[in-house]
């Protein structure tokens, strides 16, 4: 992989992110409604007081150039400003509070789903028409079409409210301070089981279905026939020949999905009261919290751009043809 190839890809990524920074600013301000008007539901508030709030939030200055210049300038220096909804909290703090719970839940969910989904998909494709295929593909389709809350709510009702095996919601038991680090880790783990199961179940479907069709495609390739002619065992053919080649198209899908990990999974977060980025984004939208929205979208776009960049590079590594 030449340095020119790398440089070009990096340059494209930086340009994309800058364009997104500008777009983020304009997009949210084009929405009807504005943060200070949300306060209009305060029956005590006068027009005058509303103006004062507007001035405090810097919304009284013209959008272009004043607000835009201030925004781009501070974003470039890493200052994302202060949240309007969470009064006085820096955007960076609010987002980072939600970021790692999201990465923990959705990131792990993706990993589990990738491992299970690819395995199920590969075997289903390899043994097309078998019981594994019928059950695996059927279950995948059903799970694929189920929103997280449909999967999650029964889990809560049975395993949390009913059997009391796991807590219903949240990420930690409040006030577990005295239990030491291991105790807290166990507590986090107990809270993670149901939401992780939900997210993983919801994601397995897409991976297994795509993997199945990729395997089916490779089965008819010439090199498979060659391999069989060489007398390689069936399992070996799947693992060493069909699977790696079917993996190639999966790389792009996996990379893009991993990029979206930071977007969170709104419905799963809502059902399990998981303090993630997805629900933060929805709340910020409702409150027209421009700084938070800009921050979240910046993070999201950087993640997607980086994931794509990584996919490009990994593709180059996996498939020599791309490099040349």
């Amino acid at each position: 992989m030449g340095s020119r190839y790398l440089g070009r890809k990096l340059g494209q990524a930086v340009l994309t992110i800058f364009a997104i920074v500008i777009l983020n600013f304009l997009l949210f301000r084009m929405m009807p409604g504005s943060p200070e008007r949300v306060l209009l539901r305060n029956p005590n508030l006068s027009q005058q007081q509303l103006e004062a709030v507007k001035a405090r939030w810097g919304l009284d200055k013209p959008l272009i150039p004043d607000q835009l210049v201030a925004y781009v300038g501070s974003t470039l220096t890493g200052d994302l400003g202060y949240s309007l909804k969470f009064q006085g909290k820096p955007v960076v703090d609010v987002i980072s509070d939600s970021l790692w719970p999201t990465v923990l839940l959705i990131g792990l969910g993706e990993l589990v789903a990738i491992v299970v989904g690819l395995t199920v998909g590969a075997y289903a494709g390899w043994r097309r028409g078998s019981a594994v295929d019928r059950v695996g593909t059927g279950a995948s389709l059903i799970l694929y079409s189920m929103p997280y809350f449909v999967i999650g709510m029964p889990l809560i009702i049975v395993f949390a409210a009913g059997l009391h095996w796991f807590p219903t919601s949240g990420m930690t038991s409040v006030g577990t301070s005295g239990e030491g680090f291991v105790g807290q880790l166990v507590d986090l783990g107990r809270h993670l089981v149901l939401p992780l199961t939900t997210v993983a179940l919801g994601l397995i479907g897409s991976y297994s279905i795509i993997m199945r069709s990729a395997i089916l495609e490779t089965r008819s390739e010439d090199y498979m026939t060659t391999a069989r002619a060489k007398g390689i065992t069936d399992g070996r053919m799947l693992r060493s020949h069909a699977f790696p080649n079917a993996l190639l198209p999966m790389v792009t899908i996996i990379a893009i999905n991993l990029g979206y990990v930071v977007a969170g999974a709104i419905t799963a977060e809502v059902v399990f009261n998981w303090p993630g980025l997805g629900s933060l984004t929805v709340d910020a939208l409702g409150a027209r919290d421009y700084p938070i929205l800009q921050g979240v979208f910046l993070l999201l776009s950087v993640a997607v751009v980086v994931a794509n960049l990584v996919a490009d590079l990994v593709y180059g590594l996996l498939d020599p043809r791309v490099r040349s």
Binding site: N42, N44, L45, A52, A160, V174, G175, S177, V270, N273
Partner: protein, 642 residues
């Protein structure tokens, strides 16, 4: 060839795990004290700020009132009772009140709390009112303005004198938190809104905020220096839920003790649960249809905007529509019976001020039709009701997406108005977009007020002024959503503001309620009840405040200080978990002695985020090792194959 590599990777993994596990225990505190008694309260509101001047939510009020005292607190019936001040007297001319501040009171950090703190906190609001501006989001200073406060002075450490230009009791209902001057002395009304409040906070309330996790919970610890009745719980945790479904499950599982605002179906289901008690509390608020009456009383029009028909400016038209709404059905079908039929713009929960209308409208479609005919709104050949310009009346009804009941109510309205020959098109939008749409030119250059009916609701304060204010002419462009203007109403409002006694004020308020009811810029559909469910296995002593209200999220923090140990000897709280009205029992006064809980200052809050981050890092390490192992296996295999 294969095994060595694999073996090496496995060994590396084991070594890593060993290293991680040996680090882990050293990182967390391993103290094992008796666990504190924690009251866990669930709500679907997400706390927005812990700076009292920056919260717009009920949960924010709850948080700051737990930490800070008001000068005058609220009692069993929401009546004024001692708070930061333990007694007060009004001067002979009625224009000033002398408050005596508690002797020997201390902040939770041990500093003395005295009149200087009270003067600092009130003075800032008086300054803001004088400067014609507000502090933070502007929810608190209107209290001071509304009470007519013009001056506060503190001649000595135990005296605060408040001068007012009215003689009402509103000065005893002022929601101004008394903040510690020794911490915030640098702030003025200009800067207070931007002041950074970080847990843990210092207050004189029963509990002080120790920790706030955005979107998750706020944790309070007992204030060791609290002057009043001490509740059984050592800590209070308010947990924020994203959906009532999960909150209800958490209540059933015993993870929380109190759930605020489950919906009607959930409450009905909880009524049958063992060990859970439900409360249907009268609410200080309502859900209404607001008609766009822009131009009424002013004659103004909006180019390219405003209501779709002039009929909405006609009192007779709005009055007739009032007969077409069966509010009893709405309460039964939509609220599951948990609420009251709506009438005037002072909710019945404010028993001192609410009156029933003198000329009530009852559900009668035939009467509505004949009233419309008589008022000059005939039907055309195809059954459409025509306005005075001869145009069929098609009304646009908009509502916010914040409440699942609104679209249901709208469907009923659409049907009933349809029976009159009036077509209604309904649309749900997010509240930001809706406020924009409702805005008239007075509220901004882009304001067009392009709507006919708005379906939304309001929540009030202990004093009815807040809910009356939205009908004033000068609220147009601000909070007014009927854009109604009536000089008589404004003058009545000013008169009641100056009333010297409750007796003098009441008839004026009655007139104002009837005026709005008769003129009908609003059709108040129902007063939705506050629904609450709580567990009785851990805590006893729950008491509704006022008696037709709810135990928590009411006025002040009385409910938190009355809780007792449900597992203790029955003498602690006789049947407190049972019936609602047992004001004499007062299980709260028997405060358990276990109050010597040290206030730990957030050592936990600094350690808890580490757990997740370290877990994340550990997982990342394992994943990387896993990938490395896979890669190395593949490479070995390739070597083998070759």
């Amino acid at each position: 060839m294969r095994s060595p590599l694999r073996g090496r990777a496995t060994r590396a993994l084991a070594a890593c795990a060993l290293a991680v596990s040996s680090i882990l225990p050293a990182m967390g505190p391993t103290a094992t004290a008796a666990p504190p008694v924690v009251l866990k309260v669930g709500t679907t509101q997400d706390l927005d700020a812990i700076n009292p001047y920056n919260t717009a939510l009920v949960v924010g009020y709850e948080v700051y009132q737990l930490t800070y005292n008001l000068l005058v607190d609220f009692g069993d019936n929401a009546e004024p009772v001692p708070g930061f001040a333990d007694k007060w007297e009004r001067s002979a001319d009625g224009h000033s009140v002398k408050f005596h501040i508690r002797t020997g009171m201390k902040w939770s950090d041990g500093q003395p709390a005295d009149a200087q703190d009270a003067c600092f906190s009130w003075g800032m609001n008086v300054d803001a009112v004088k400067a014609g501006t507000s502090i933070g989001l502007g929810y608190i200073d209107p209290n001071v303005k509304d009470a007519g406060v013009t001056k506060v002075e503190c001649p000595d450490a135990e005296t605060m004198i408040v001068t007012t230009d009215d003689q009402s009791d509103r000065v005893l209902q002022v929601y101004v938190p008394i903040l510690p001057k020794h911490i915030w002395s640098k702030e003025t009304y200009k800067t207070m809104g931007d002041a950074k409040f970080n847990a843990s906070l210092v207050g004189t309330g029963p509990y002080t905020l120790a920790e706030w996790k955005t979107g998750q919970y706020a944790r309070f610890v007992r204030n060791p220096n609290y002057w009043g009745t001490k509740g059984f719980e050592d800590e209070v945790v308010i947990q924020f839920f994203k959906t009532p479904d999960t909150m209800v499950q958490a209540l059933k599982a015993g993870e929380i003790d109190y759930a605020r605002d489950p919906n009607a179906d959930q409450l009905k289901q909880l009524q049958t649960e063992q060990g859970i008690k439900t409360v249907v509390g009268a609410a200080n608020g309502w859900t209404q249809l607001a008609f766009n009456t822009y131009g009424t009383g002013t004659g103004k029009t909006i180019a390219g905007g405003g209501a779709s028909t002039k009929a909405l400016q006609d009192q007779a038209f709005r009055d007739a529509l009032g007969y077409a709404v069966d509010k009893k059905t709405l309460v039964d079908k939509i609220l599951g019976g948990f609420g009251d039929v709506g009438t005037t713009n002072v909710p019945p929960v404010l028993t001192q001020w609410h009156v029933e209308p003198t000329k009530p409208r009852t559900f009668d479609i035939a009467k509505a039709k004949s009233l419309l005919d008589a008022a000059g709104y005939p039907l055309d050949g195809s059954g459409n009701r025509l306005d005075k310009e001869g145009k069929p009346i098609n009304l646009r009804l908009y509502m916010p997406n914040s409440n699942a009941d609104y679209p249901k109510a709208a469907a009923f309205i659409k049907d009933w108005y349809g029976q009159l020959g009036i077509k209604v098109s309904t649309q749900v939008m997010d509240s930001g977009a809706l406020t924009d749409l409702l805005l008239p030119p007075e509220g901004g250059k882009t304001g067009k007020a392009k709507y006919d009916i708005e379906l939304w609701g309001w929540a009030g304060s202990p004093d009815p002024n807040a809910l009356l204010q939205i009908f004033r002419c000068d609220a147009i462009g601000g909070t007014s959503d009927s854009l109604y203007c009536n000089k008589d109403f404004d003058s009545l409002y000013d008169q009641q503001l100056k009333a010297t006694s409750a007796d003098a004020r009441k008839p004026l308020l009655a007139q104002m309620q009837n005026l709005i009811y008769d003129q009908a810029p609003y059709d108040i559909l129902y007063y939705d009840a506050n629904l609450v469910a709580y567990r009785t296995d851990k805590f006893a002593g729950w008491r509704n405040q006022p008696p037709n209200g709810t135990p928590l999220f009411t006025y002040g923090t009385l409910g938190y200080t009355l809780l007792t140990d449900a597992t203790a000897a029955p003498s602690a709280a006789p049947s407190a978990s049972g019936t609602t009205a047992s004001p004499v029992a007062g299980g709260g006064s028997a405060a358990p002695v276990a109050s010597a809980t040290p206030v730990d200052s957030g050592s936990t809050s600094s350690s808890s985020p580490n757990v997740g981050v370290v877990a994340l890092i550990a997982i990342a390490i394992i994943v990387v090792i896993g990938i490395a192992m896979y890669a190395s296996r593949r490479r070995t295999r390739v070597v083998e194959d070759e």
